[in-house]
């Protein structure tokens, strides 16, 4: 019945049948692919957990393990940026707020791990003798865990709703998120008595489970936790960007108005994605804070939030792997280059922005898919092994379509 529709030449009938077969088989194939992908993710996670740290330590670069842990935490925030910008097309320049909210939540909890009646010691110079109300709930671990994820989420949902409701879009949204950043920065920066202002909250010396946070066992635990949560974030992003919700995200990016006329309310979807990405940023902020030992309002400066976008852009927007890869590449480049060329690091960073926007709009993964694949294949002239994301070039349907379209052009 599928074949009984339009006139096709005899030659392409054969192909047609193959295609139909492929379609029928696509279900189990998809499951296989999913398993393969899960396997690869697990393998990389194990590699990160058990192989890379000893190698780094062995080569006298032990402190890079901590860096890696921090950058992996940043990668979680990058996943959030990718969801909102890469997949949904909304550029948020205010994710530092959510990052910081997560970080501050956890830092407040850690600082309260004190004997009864004592205050965190930074309070004393300001003459604060009673714990401010803001701090009270953070005695509770469950509340803190809730706060890390949901305070950013709720703030984002409110902000997002207020903005998206008015159909404020594009650069206006970006500018407003920047303004929000300034608001939060000034608030955190200006409230010395509440949260220690510019100095931020230090978590290194706090104790948890009877150990200081900066001690090796806790740091190893945090490193593991980061990887697990990154895998979780990866899974969440995969889940959100596939299936029906994934299609809806693409739909918001492609044509928001069309969605409305199909009966969807894009505002709610945008709020949802914005909130989820904020939650991811909150988790990232918490993990980053405990691994770097301090959270300050600097996490909410303009540059940092824009940098997050560039991580995703470098890796390749709208690719989940790209977000993670981009974060690691840019941050390690920053850390290594700034060791070597401390004085002119900004040149590199600025150049990176320019290059990514003008020359490599698809980022590294985008380039690999578009040009890299062709380049490599033409060089070694053989078939590529199957990857997690089969490129369009491999797709028989595409080849068929290409040919057909080319024919169409010349016919008349």
């Amino acid at each position: 019945m599928i074949l009984a529709h339009r006139s096709l030449e005899a030659g392409s009938l054969q192909l047609e049948i193959k295609l139909v077969d492929a379609l029928i088989q696509s279900k189990p194939k998809a499951r296989q692919r999913l398993l393969l992908e899960a396997g690869i993710v697990a393998a990389i996670a194990l590699l990160l957990l058990f192989v890379i740290p000893p190698i780094l330590v062995g080569s006298g670069q032990g402190f890079r393990v901590n860096l890696l842990g921090r950058y992996l935490a940043l990668a979680i925030a990058a996943l959030g940026i990718d969801l909102i910008w890469g997949f949904t097309g909304i550029l948020s320049l205010g994710h530092g707020v959510f990052f910081a909210l997560g970080g501050y939540s956890l830092a407040m909890f850690l600082l309260l791990q004190l004997p009864d009646g004592q205050l965190p010691d930074f309070f004393s110079p300001y003459g604060v003798t009673e714990l401010p109300w803001l701090w009270q709930p953070f005695y509770s671990l469950p509340f803190t865990l809730f706060a890390i994820v949901f305070i950013p989420t709720i703030v984002a949902a409110i902000l997002g709703y207020l903005v998206f409701r008015n159909r404020i879009r594009g650069v206006y949204f970006s500018i407003l998120t920047q303004a929000a950043l300034i608001v939060f920065f000034n608030f955190f920066n200006g409230q010395q008595k509440l949260i220690n202002g510019t100095n931020g909250l230090k978590t290194d010396t706090a104790t948890i489970f009877g150990q200081t946070v900066s001690s090796p066992p806790i740091q190893a635990f945090l490193y593991t936790l980061t990887i697990l949560l990154l895998v979780g974030g990866y899974a969440l992003s995969r889940w959100l960007t596939s299936g029906r919700s994934g299609r809806l995200l693409v739909a918001v990016r492609d044509d928001e108005a069309r969605m409305r006329f199909s009966g969807y309310d894009p505002t709610m979807f945008k709020v949802l994605v914005f909130a989820i990405s904020a939650g991811l940023a909150g988790i990232a902020g918490a993990l980053y804070t405990v691994q770097s030992g301090i959270i300050t309002p600097q996490a909410m400066n303009i540059a940092f939030s824009i940098e997050m976008v560039i991580w995703v852009a470098v890796g390749g927007r709208a690719t989940i792997v790209g977000a993670i890869l981009g974060t690691l590449i840019v941050n390690f480049a920053k850390s290594i280059l700034s060791e070597q060329y401390a004085q002119i690091w900004y040149f590199f960073q600025g150049g990176l922005f320019l290059i990514v926007v003008t020359v490599l709009p698809g980022g590294i993964l985008g380039w690999l898919r578009e040009d890299g694949v062709r380049l490599v294949r033409s060089q070694i002239n053989k078939r590529r092994p199957l990857q997690t994301y089969p490129s369009l070039e491999e797709d028989p349907d595409v080849q068929y379509e290409r040919k057909n379209l080319t024919n169409r052009e010349s016919d008349r």
Partner: protein
């Protein structure tokens, strides 16, 4: 498609090169083929009318002529020189005056400013930016409202303004896209008269896209378009009712 091969070459004036020559023009919007191998010629001092229903590609043809759209293949020659590589503003300065569909008067500029913008097409701009009296002779209504905003005019006035603006640049080829669209009959007659007078007094060529038969009949030559192709052409004197029914009527 019975008219597809009926194309006659327009009668050639004695010595002149064609003012405009369109050769095998193909234009696409993305993947959809809008203009298919379009050929047409406009000779100096002649008024040529392009007819056809909405959506057959007339406006696309004019936009390609102005360089707003890029053709995928084919050539455009103005007075014997290819203009295919020229930008829109260069084409304007080479002497194509364009009166687009919907007039496109700049809304928040005054009438005077709109007219002065017409001088942009001149290769050497006069020191003193004045509006020549001929313009007001053609369109007396404009003189009384020089300081009003272009967007505040009625459709007919905007149309007159748009034509006057194009004339300010002293074009060699005046391109008019549906100048009568949505305009009261009385003003249509004024515009018709003005266009005729322009041709008589300045001797420039006119390429007109039009549906109003009355106006169409003012032209020397017609081309009929359908589905992106030229399907018929001839002197307007020979424009038969048959053709009109086929390509123009409801």
């Amino acid at each position: 498609m019975s008219y597809a091969n009926a194309t006659l070459e327009p009668t050639k004036p004695d010595t002149d090169l064609p003012m405009l020559e369109v050769n095998d023009l193909n234009v696409y919007y993305g993947e959809s083929h809008i203009l298919r191998d379009v050929n047409m010629t406009v000779f100096p001092g002649k008024m040529v009318c392009l007819i056809g229903r909405n959506g057959v590609g007339k406006t696309t043809m004019l936009k390609t002529l102005m360089g707003i759209l890029k053709p995928r293949s084919g050539n455009l020659k103005l007075d014997g020189h290819s203009i295919i590589a020229r930008t829109t503003d260069q084409r304007a300065r080479l002497g194509i005056g364009y009166v687009p569909q919907g007039r496109e008067v700049i809304p928040r500029l005054t009438i005077k400013e709109n007219l002065i913008l017409g001088l942009e097409a001149l290769l050497e701009r006069p020191k003193k930016q004045e509006i020549p009296e001929e313009i007001f002779e053609l369109f007396p209504v404009l003189k009384t409202m020089l300081s009003r905003m272009g967007g505040d005019l009625s459709g007919g006035q905007q149309q007159q303004l748009a034509i006057a603006r194009a004339l300010m640049g002293r074009p060699r080829l005046l391109v008019l896209d549906e100048p009568t669209e949505g305009i009261q009959p009385s003003i249509i007659l004024e515009i018709e008269a003005a266009v005729r007078r322009i041709i008589e007094t300045t001797g420039i060529s006119v390429l007109l896209v039009e549906q109003h038969l009355h106006f169409v009949r003012q032209a020397d030559w017609y081309y009929a378009m359908q589905k992106g192709s030229m399907v018929a052409s001839g002197p307007t004197s020979q424009l038969s009712n048959d053709v009109i029914q086929q390509f123009l009527a409801v």
